[in-house]
Symmetry: C2
Subunit: 496 residues, 2 copies
């Protein structure tokens, strides 16, 4: 009876989520420019209805009284309870205060970032940091966790600094030594085999066809999704109708193609979630780290491997023409897609340097939440770590330093580690897969992704939110998060 | 205070409507084929939330207690009350029964219509007719109207058989004589100037550009709307983001272009509604007859006139190429778009014969609601009238006879008259406009639609739902619905 009430509620919430997801995707792809104000009003009101229904006090009683009859129901109820606690642990008064402050701060950031005006932005960020400390404590009290763990738990349930700290420290130490080695190896490789020029322009309609062919090949289900264009690529929509986007430039085609493959990784996860539980938290994607592991599995593990390009190079010729990349072979493509370069900007970083950008933020935001660091001290602390980890200074360039990401202005603390967690999980899945399927690389070289997808469907996608993030890693790959696997992957790819 | 409560409620309802409108448009244009089931579930749940919020009992108290302070508020409250009564006058038990029956009947109709299986369909239609009689009586009791008037009032508030019967009878008598005259005149014209061949194929992207140019010319605001493709053309979305669609064939271009112009007429109305009242019934389009008058104003009055084609013929050459319609002049286009032909199918009918299709249905459905006619008698009654009005028989062809429309299977009785009402209002608006703006035809020939749109914005669009349909006709055109104007329009166009 109570279980049925939760089930009914879930269907209503799913419908509101459906509307919000499709309206969000539509806004980025097909909305008329003058439609934004009413769209924002509609989405805010729908989100309000969602929140009111999802946090109604009687739900606590339903959860208490529910008597699950199967293991699935037991897990579903536990995840429902967890999400209900997360959704209700902040007083309404606090949520309103925080929402107003982060909205203002994010708007201010958008205005000030282009000119790198840190000083004007600082007061707003100080306000956000104060609220985040308050929020972390409120969540910590409700969940019985340490404050920063309570923040991370929103994005990847089960993530704990006690587990991540040593793994990230290990990885950081490895990478500070590895980056120069990888750069040296790259220089030597390029001396032997110089980078080849592109032969654009690449018409958008042909790039689109190439992207669609790549999506289809790696398993995207076009009866439950589509590809459009938007300024910022994303994977949105709903599992039965995944809305992927990309953006095109005509002077080169690899950024759009790799972006499409990244988003396809997200899309496959959504399309593979357990349908019978789609209206329960249990049936939804586990969290940000696991989601990112699925996109990075496709983008980094699959689509930056030599075997993938054995299959994909003819596809490029087919869709872009024989002269699109004249004389290029697999090794030339690999040089491009696996190019390593130290840089300021996280989102532009390659696979090797990216984790250092993340670990820097992970360390800083722990100190910010703990009160060991103040917002005013960020630029110096940021610069010290950038210099230490990547050997580059941003002290005179806040725009491309601590002002580069939307996360902190928007109050999203505890999110950054999920990116590198995702990269490590992706490598760990690949290793497990390769052990389970000895023909893996040969299959990929033939463009056969059936085995890859079956394994992931079984071990990841169909699991929804049955397990915490660390539990899911262990169940899927046979061991807890293990930095050695990611390190071995980097060595094999970049020092060979 | 109470007024404010209604205002707040209006904003929530507007947001749900926004979601439903955009989800509906998205479904027809961009949804993946496998997304339909969840989309239907989401829309049904959102519609349920809308209904629950729009019919809550406390609203009656708010309406009662509201003290409007301006004329606008007085009109807004009156329209709110009218819609609340319309939305709450049917018992929930009845609505559920009717919804289930009409959904089944409509599904059955979709299945049986292709093979014209009237006998298998009849029991379902009999059930619908019984429910419609019950509904008409319930509405009649709540509104203090005659049963059929109460049904019409949903679509065009103020429509009464007492007013329409003589007008439609007059029109019918005129048309039964006029159709043969128009056909004779057409034959004579075509003998002098034979129809010219088309020179397709017409590529879809060029047709799209032509359609966009025509939309822009007649005043469509592309900052608040767009054009896409769907199987059945429609004008949906919301006033700040109107979603228009068309469909293309490549052997000819006029059907898509005239369809685009028709939908643009609907779109201009939506875009011109009073923005400050967009969350009140007052700020919404008046009804189906007025809406159709706006689409037919553009499609029939404007875009089938010689002056329009003086302006538009070069546009065709510009977008489709100089050889697209070799040697065609304005008179040749007019022969095509104003071609008259007796036929079975209402939606394929031309401007001259269309009203006879509608009047036939108007007469039959009055008798059905009144119990003077049973569903089983429809085929014979239909055939008698078709033979009488248009001289063609459908007795052996129910598919193209009484099974051709979705309205009756779906339970929509009282809707048909709005189509012809719209055509007559459109002609009456044109006459009023021509009196107010002596340069009207010259302006149109130059592609200047400013005056046309200013007049319509002032007299129709900005009026929203301030007045009943007959009131709006009189206020806008200076006189009540007058069949003579429509008759004069037909004579001028088809006997000249």
């Amino acid at each position: 009876m109570s279980f049925q009430k939760l089930d009914d509620l879930g269907r209503k919430l799913e419908s509101l989520e459906h509307a919000l997801s499709i309206l969000g995707a539509d806004e980025a792809t097909h909305m008329a420019v003058g439609g934004g104000e009413k769209r924002a009003e509609a989405m805010a009101n729908l989100a309000g209805m969602y929140h009111a229904q999802a946090t109604a006090p009687q739900i606590a009683d339903w959860i208490e009284a529910a008597r699950p009859e199967t293991e699935d129901q037991t897990l579903a109820l536990a995840e429902f309870r967890r999400q209900y606690i997360n959704a209700t642990c902040l007083p309404t008064e606090f949520v309103e205060r925080r929402t107003a402050a982060t909205m203002r701060s994010e708007q201010l950031w958008r205005e000030l970032r282009p000119r790198g005006d840190w000083d004007s932005f600082l007061p707003a960020l100080e306000g956000v940091v104060a609220l985040v400390r308050e929020e972390a404590q409120l969540r910590a009290d409700a969940l019985g966790l340490a404050p920063y763990d309570a923040l991370m738990d929103q994005y990847d349930p089960g993530n704990r600094t006690a587990d991540l700290d040593p793994v990230f420290a290990d990885l950081k130490n490895f990478l500070t030594g590895f980056v120069p080695q990888a750069l040296d190896a790259q220089e030597a490789r390029l001396a032997r085999r110089p980078r080849k020029p592109l032969n654009g322009p690449y018409p958008i309609d042909r790039q689109r066809e190439l992207g669609l062919a790549a999506m289809r090949a790696v398993g995207f289900d076009f009866t439950h999704g589509s590809l459009a264009v938007s300024h910022h690529p994303f994977c949105g929509g709903v599992p039965t109708d995944v809305r992927m986007t990309t953006r095109y430039r005509t002077d080169e085609f690899l950024s759009a193609l790799m972006g499409v493959l990244h988003e396809t990784g997200h899309a496959l996860y959504e399309q593979g979630l357990p349908k019978a539980w789609s209206h329960w938290p249990l049936g939804k994607a586990r969290g940000m780290g696991i989601h990112e592991s699925q996109s990075l599995f496709v983008e980094m593990q699959l689509a930056r491997s030599p075997e993938f390009w054995e299959f994909a190079l003819p596809l490029v010729h087919l869709h872009l023409g024989e002269d699109a990349i004249p004389g290029w072979q697999t090794a030339d493509i690999l040089s491009e897609v696996n190019f390593v370069q130290r840089g300021y900007i996280r989102v532009d970083a390659d696979e090797v340097t990216y984790p250092l950008h993340v670990i820097l933020r992970y360390e800083l935001e722990q100190d910010l939440v703990a009160g060991k660091l103040e917002a005013s001290q960020i630029p110096e602390a940021w610069d010290a770590k950038m210099t230490d980890y990547l050997g580059i200074s941003t002290i005179n360039d806040p725009k491309d330093g601590p002002m580069q990401d939307v996360h902190w202005p928007g109050g999203a603390f505890g999110y950054f580690p999920s990116y590198t967690l995702g990269a490590m999980i992706a490598a760990q899945q690949w290793a497990a897969l390769e052990q389970a399927q000895p023909n893996l690389r040969a299959d990929i070289a033939r463009g056969d992704f059936t085995g890859v997808n079956q394994w992931r469907a079984e071990h990841i996608w169909s699991q929804g939110s049955r397990w915490s993030t660390p539990e899911l890693i262990t169940k899927a790959t046979g061991q807890p998060l293990n930095a050695d696997i990611f390190k071995a992957h980097l060595k094999a790819r970049y020092l060979a």
